[in-house]
Amino acid sequence: MRVVIADDSVLLREGLARVLTEGGFEIVAQAADADELRQAVRRFKPDIAIVDVRMPPTHTDEGARAAVEIRAEQPEVAVLVLSQVVEAAHAMRLFSERPEGFGYLLKDRVLEIDDFLEAVRRVGRGGTAIDPEVIGQLVGRRREDSPLDELTPREREVLELMAQGLSNRGICEKLVVSPKTVETHVNSIFGKLGLMPTGDEHRRVLAVLAYLRS
């Protein structure tokens, strides 16, 4: 899988490149700012671009803006956004109703190397990876009379993993349970929340996120 990395810290860029290379990815370009990123993506057409939100010159959100542009102009390129701070609102704004090939993770997640490589792979294949903290914010938000309160702790866990973008198989591995059990949980959750069950994983992520946001 071909990867472009954009981050203004050389140290981190190199570290990421090494970890990814060892994980079987091909690093086609490294970019130090948003302009270099745009050029690299146009030129190399990678499977995935890993982008730091804040980059020179203003260190505000040029990475995020570049990510949105890339997703609009080249939908076939997946984008994984890394940030020192993750915010549900920001995540929602970035993926704008299209969770396919989109990831939004706290920068620290790269330290859990296996999980990180898995997330890159998932997003690169057109899947979704939303940071657990974002999902935590959404699930933890207090509502009046929310059906979420009716979920069992296990179901809540499964819901959060679904929202992060994990497939049933991914959830099985994560929770070390059988596919059958996961399926039971998923059906129960959809029933309690009043959502329509769907086989399509993108639509499932979208439905769950939309529900959590509302």
Partner: protein, 584 residues
Amino acid sequence: MRIILALLALAGVVVGVLAYRVQVDNLPEPLTTTTRAMATVVAAWSFLVAGLIAWLRRPDNRLGPLMVATCFALLARQFRYSHDPLAFTVFFLVGELGYVLYTHVALAYPSGRVIDRLERTFLVAAYTVSLAFPLAILLTYDATERLRYFDPFLRESLLLVTGSAELVRLLQDLYGGVAYGVLACVFVLLVVRRFVRATPRARRLLAPLLLAAVVAALWALLNGILTYAETPPDLTYDLFWWQIIGLTALPMALLAGLLRARLARVHVGELVVHLDQTSPGELRDELALALNDPTLEVAFWLPEQGGYVDAEGNSVPMPIDGPERAVTRIEHEGQALAVLVHDPTLRDEPKLVEAVAAAARLALVNARLHAEVRSQLEMVQESRARIVTAADEERRRIERDLHDGAQQRLVALALELRSAQRRLGEERDPEIDQLLESTADELQVALQELRELAQGIHPGILTQGGLAPALESLAARVPLPVSVAATQERLPPDVEATAYFVACEALTNVVKHSGATKASIRAMRDDGMLVVEVEDNGVGGASAGGGSGLRGLADRVEAHGGHFRVESSPGSGTRVLGEIPCAS
């Protein structure tokens, strides 16, 4: 002085009576009647009365003497009708001076001086013409023909050199055209020119006077034209009364001007009474009324700032005395206090300005104090805004430095460790593995702490996403349902930061003290303002005073020129409202 004036008055009366007799005795009807002879004398006396009053009240102004002289010149003109050769010769020679003096008075009003070069030139020409032509006529008048405006009886000129009836006729025609035609025209133009150039205050003073002058000059002009025409007697009579009105109107106008000055003194009296109830902001209006100058400006001298300020404390440029605006300095206990910047015509009424200044001195001291406080307040306000902005900027900078420096570096470092750990492979020493593991874990905890610290200093999301996502994120972290409605626009950083901290602090209070079960945040633009509103359904009773965080919020919002309000009656929840100006 008074004796001289009394003697002049007496002389005027005597000469007037004589002038009346000369006319009645020497001019048969219809050239004159007793009424008309009386009218010419009364017209001259009106100059005497106005001139004496002006002289008495403004001894240093030449206008009084000029008008008295005009009176005598106008009366002297009548003596030329005498049949005595000496009287005829002398008074025929100076008989025209009265009209020139008339224009002199009009042009010298109100200062008594004629400064304008064009006006001076005109007067020199007029005096010359009015003496030269009668002289030339006297030199050539051989008493063979009747003189214009005279009775059929002939007079004897003592100055006769060579007689020529034709020349006399020519000279009389020419004089009528030049003096009454051309000079009158120029005079009207000069008068209109003065009026156009005058300041609004001067125009009001000049208006009646100039009207009189124009009436008189138009009479002269018509008279000049008629010199060349056979005039029906009726018209000459009408013109006579026109002339009398034009002549008398001038001293009347001047008297009106003097009366106005008296009225102004009444204003000063009223001013003294009013000043007790006058606020510093209205002082200027009161003074403008007393001085009859709507353009009046008052500037206060602030020695500590070394400059002038207006009543609101805004600094104003150093007032300069010039032709357009006059400046009167007012002192208090030997120190500069204030300046009045006013219409230059007030220079001619120094007593009035002095009286007004004296009456208003205490009020001016008071108003200066007021202006000084306002000025200082403004400076404090500005410096407060600068301090808050600088503090915000500093917080942003620290957050950014942490983010781009320490945080990035720690992540990179931890990644190196993790990667090293993996490379060791299967045959790694369990102790080293343990060490690497715990070091990386510690690093991760440090990172987490650093992130929270940076967030507390200045939320990164505010810089990255703006107010709406920052407020949504804020709402999500609070353990009660909070609805958020916020503008999606990006606003200036200090406005966003102020609004964010208002919402943040207000929400903290909601959680800590209100016992509310829900809350709402609104941050919308409204008419150049960003309005931030945090409402809850708790117990209420919060206040912006005291040592609460709300006081700090009020300071912050007000430092940006905004307003901050807390509405919180016990039992009905709390509403915190901040309005922050945002021009963009």
